[in-house]
């Protein structure tokens, strides 16, 4: 059976996108960090809630594109793996 929280099939150079618009509260990773599928890469405030952005696949963080306070749109890339 498939897992519940992964998103699309990932290729080598994966990106982590925000599923919804919001304001970045915290960033949980830095370049060089290893992440597993489902790990939180940053936390957004949206819909008056704190909603994590999750890595869709395992990988090593190569770039972080957001900082706390940034507004992100739906589909915005927050981290590159």
């Amino acid at each position: 059976m498939s897992t519940t929280n992964g998103s699309g099939p990932q290729t080598a150079a994966a990106v982590v996108r925000s599923e919804l618009p919001g304001t970045v509260l915290t960033v949980a990773v830095a370049p060089g960090d290893r992440v597993d599928a489902g790990d939180e890469v940053c936390l957004l405030e949206s819909m008056k809630m704190e909603i994590p952005v999750l890595a869709p696949a395992a990988g090593t963080v190569t770039r972080v594109l957001v900082r706390p306070g940034d507004a992100v749109a739906t589909g915005a890339v927050v981290v590159q793996l």
Partner: protein, 481 residues
């Protein structure tokens, strides 16, 4: 409808599928062995002779539940179906419908046989008709074990639940035809493999590794959809539910563990990859099969959107048609705002969920764990939508919107007129007042709630509510929304 798959299933299996087959031992590829593996050992009774027809039908037991099944024969023309094969399959479906038993299709077929021309096409049509006749009367499950092209794929898509094994491929027209017509170059897996149908198309409800796993899930779903009870008893207290919510009310969380705590066992999640902000699961509560619909705050904050509404509507209608009681677990901040959602037709798809719940005759209880706001509250089986019972945990907030947001709108002028110094205090006071107007006690007094219940006693309360409600189911068919 026009494709014939390669005769050898091995030729189309990906290397990882072969690897998983080796890992799980025997994975037969002929119809009779697959049927025998599906049913309880020794219970498989073949209903058609070995007369060269490339489809076989059987009846037998699934964990003691009588069921019918059919399978296409991969070694005969790649499982492609002509009029004789279609007669076997349509006959099995009609027999199951007459017997009131579930019917399971084991598909591995290139679609309609070309050499029979329109006769095979008409045969496939007779399968479709039989499936629609049986729809909502008996559970229908499709298991995709190899390529299923054209009519074979549509045959699966017409049924209640589609299970796709790793080697399963579903498409209307295959890679060769697509290349000829559109010039697009695509492999079978990228066109119609499990990743595509789990996450993108939503055609598959469950994806598995090996074909043996697929058959195993099909067995579990057969008993769940047939309503076969396990050992029935009121569930005891579940202390784990006390800590199922995060300490901070604004924090998102995965609803999965909460549902694990509510149900006897995890059950089977349907369409996990599609619209994961709404979880749809079949499981058991106190031994009785139930369908669970739950907002999942870890994805999109648990907001409803067009995709989730459609997913939920199909699930609710299936449960209603088959008489599976519903448990609705609510923690929803609202509908997802945005231009894209409006333009996708969130109204059209959202209306499907409203229609499904309001029209459902099957018993359906609602539990509000944390928040139920606005129109999304209604769409999650509210009292006014005909819920059998609505309960709330002490942590719940049921309102048109959150108290803070309501105060900012209702008291906009008063807040604007206040000095910067006074405003936070004024606002806090107004928010507290606003909360008081919608306390759970008041909502219960108004009949919106049937009671405030403690998390650990929740499985027992929901079980009793469903027992008291008795039966009931729709007389509608389960249209594949």
């Amino acid at each position: 409808m026009s494709l014939e798959a390669p005769a050898s299933p091995e030729a189309t299996a990906s290397p990882d599928a072969t690897a998983s087959r080796e890992a799980t031992g025997v994975a037969p590829t002929d119809a009779v062995h697959r049927l025998e593996l599906f049913f309880d050992p020794g219970s498989c009774e073949l209903l058609t002779p070995d007369d060269g027809v490339g489809a076989r039908a059987a009846r037998g037991l699934v964990a003691g539940t009588p069921a019918y099944a059919f399978g296409t024969e991969p070694a005969r023309r790649g499982g492609a179906v002509g009029s004789a094969e279609c007669a076997v399959i349509a006959g099995a479906i009609d027999d199951a419908c007459d017997a009131g038993a579930p019917v399971i299709g084991l598909w591995h077929s290139g679609g309609a046989r070309l050499d029979e021309g329109v006769r095979s096409l008409e045969g496939v049509g007779s399968i479709f008709s039989a499936m629609v006749r049986a729809s909502g009367r008996v559970p229908q499950i499709s298991v995709i074990l190899g390529p299923a092209a054209g009519g074979a794929a549509y045959g699966a898509a017409l049924t209640d639940v589609v299970i796709q094994a790793d080697a399963g491929r579903m498409f209307v027209t295959g890679p060769d035809v697509i290349r000829q017509v559109t010039g697009e170059v695509v492999g079978m897996r990228d066109l119609g493999g499990p990743e595509v149908h789990d996450e993108r198309s939503g055609v598959a409800h469950v994806t598995t590794g090996s074909s043996l796993e697929a058959l195993s899930v099909a067995r579990e779903l057969t008993t769940l959809l047939a309503g076969t009870p396990g050992r029935t008893a009121e569930p005891g207290p579940r202390p784990a539910l006390r800590t199922a919510l995060p300490e901070r009310a604004v924090r998102a969380y995965d609803v999965g563990p909460l549902l694990d705590g509510l149900l006897d066992d995890p059950g089977v999640e349907l369409q996990p990859g599609r619209a994961p902000n709404l979880v749809t699961r079949l499981g058991r509560l106190g031994g009785r099969p139930v369908g669970v619909v739950a907002n999942n705050p870890i994805r999109l904050g648990g907001c409803l959107n067009a995709a989730a509404s459609e997913k939920g509507a199909r699930f609710v209608r299936m449960c209603d048609a088959l008489g599976i009681p519903l448990v609705v677990v609510v923690d929803v901040p609202g509908y997802l705002p945005g231009v894209a959602e409006e333009h996708t037709g969130v109204l059209r798809h959202g209306a499907k969920l409203l229609h499904a719940f309001a029209g459902a005759r099957v018993p359906r209880v609602t539990l509000v764990t944390r928040k139920a706001f606005g129109g999304a509250y209604l769409a999650m089986n509210a009292r006014s939508m005909g819920a059998t019972a609505v309960y709330a945990w002490p942590t719940a907030e049921v309102a048109v919107m959150g108290a803070e947001a309501a105060v900012d709108i209702l008291h906009r002028r008063k807040l604007a007129a206040a000095t910067d110094e006074d405003r936070p205090g004024l606002r806090a006071g107004l928010v507290a007042e606003q909360r008081d107007t919608g306390t759970l006690e008041r909502l219960a007094a108004h009949g919106v709630l049937d009671g405030v219940i403690e998390p650990e006693e929740t499985p027992a309360v929901l079980f009793r509510a469903l027992e008291q409600a008795g039966g009931g189911r729709s007389d509608q068919r389960n249209i594949p929304l």
